[in-house]
Symmetry: C2
Subunit: 246 residues, 2 copies
């Protein structure tokens, strides 16, 4: 009988090799098998070409987790990978849930990474210097009314808002609705930063504002950051001051 | 005349070497000078003993930034370091503000890191799988009423809440006030995770709940994560489900 394996749940950050933590690199290098959504394994194949990969499509999260846990139970060291931080809208939660459900006793270690909001912020300037809300506009598993309630409360609290999954092919109107709600509390001049493919080869950014945002500039590969009432733009950088006397 | 230098604003993550990104390691290794708050330079001296360091005390942020910019203007490559992500309550904002104020044309690059919420979450299990608010309880530069309004709105929106700077020697009552506000919206059984010195040698964690949290367990080295209405504890792990059908 083989020894039980180990499952690493690895967040590899925005996508560039340099933005991976050393723990993430070590976990992937040491794994017998790397499992993830096809887009992610395609990125990692370039950095770690000699590893064995298993990829599954989008929305196959449960299947992917089962595969990862079963492989670890056979005695393998498995790295379940996702971009950003595995602990923020990542795979960590469902892995723990599945392991419980399957009665699996394998060792699981979550390796945190640089989340998309951090990565996008570093490209825009310094928009996240104050209290903020991270909200996903995907209503696949969350009622849209609850999402919009959160947008409303975060706006009322003058929190910076980082929107994950701002759009998909099927969901095109949520961002507009969110901008309408935020505009009830903030001026049309409030800076809005849009970062597409943060940390990847075709990275791009746009700094606009609540009143003139062009919704066509946003797709599923974007993170959108909406400033609070103090956020301003200087020399092409979006900055939220924190109150230091300079 | 020397060429203008470069200033890297580096977030080095929770504190362990493994949790640093490769970009952060490279920026520090390549720097002529590493500048930061004493606690941070002490951590980095251990990993990079041969570098030259300049340390300043707490609350000396403006002075520290001026030093960093002036050194870069002399043609040096400077790494301004802070723990976590340099872009979330970090040094990125004030560096850009100071550079503007000083009319400095030096090149500035922000290198994002793993923020404290991500690090603490990975130690607790998977509490941040859904929409969340990151709120600092430090009222040094933010009116306490605004902080508590944000706690209220985040609670009403059923967002997970990650509290940074939950306590200091002078601020001992803010956490209790925050817990009182959150308790208006969430049951006493709502899981609360407290992580002290996340990612450092003497790391520790406590999982408790809103009704029985012992405020003496929390100090300035802690991050506190309060679950949403769906968060539960299983096998010592704090988990917020995201709605997958398992």
């Amino acid at each position: 009988m083989s020894l039980p394996g180990k499952l690493y749940v690895v967040g590899f950050g925005p996508g560039s090799r340099g933005d991976m933590t050393q723990r993430a690199v070590k976990a992937i290098e040491g794994a017998d098998l790397v499992i993830g959504y096809t887009t992610y394994t395609d990125i990692l194949r370039e950095y770690f070409p000699d590893k064995e990969y298993k990829a599954t499509g989008m929305m196959k999260e449960v299947e992917r987790c089962r595969l990862a846990i079963e492989d670890a139970e056979k005695g393998h060291t498995v790295a379940m990978v996702s971009s950003g931080d595995s602990g923020i809208y990542g795979m960590a939660g469902i892995i723990y849930q599945m392991a419980d459900e399957m009665g699996s006793g394998i060792e699981i270690e979550t390796i945190p990474g640089v989340t998309a909001a951090s990565s996008a912020a570093s490209i825009l300037g310094a928009p996240l210097m104050h209290d903020m809300a991270i909200i996903s506009l995907s209503d696949l598993m969350t009622p849209i009314d609850l999402i919009m309630k959160r947008i409303d409360r975060a706006s009322d609290g003058d929190m910076i808002i980082a929107l994950y999954n701002p759009k998909s092919k099927k969901r095109t109107g949520h961002l507009q609705k969110a901008v309408e709600i935020i505009s009830r509390y903030r001026s049309p001049e409030t800076p809005v930063g849009i970062v597409r493919n943060a940390g990847r080869k075709d990275e791009s950014k746009i700094i606009t504002d609540l009143g003139t945002i062009d919704h066509d500039d946003v797709d599923m590969f974007c993170i959108v950051i909406i400033g609070n009432s103090q956020t301003y733009v200087s020399k092409g950088r979006m900055i939220t001051p924190r109150g230091y006397e300079i």
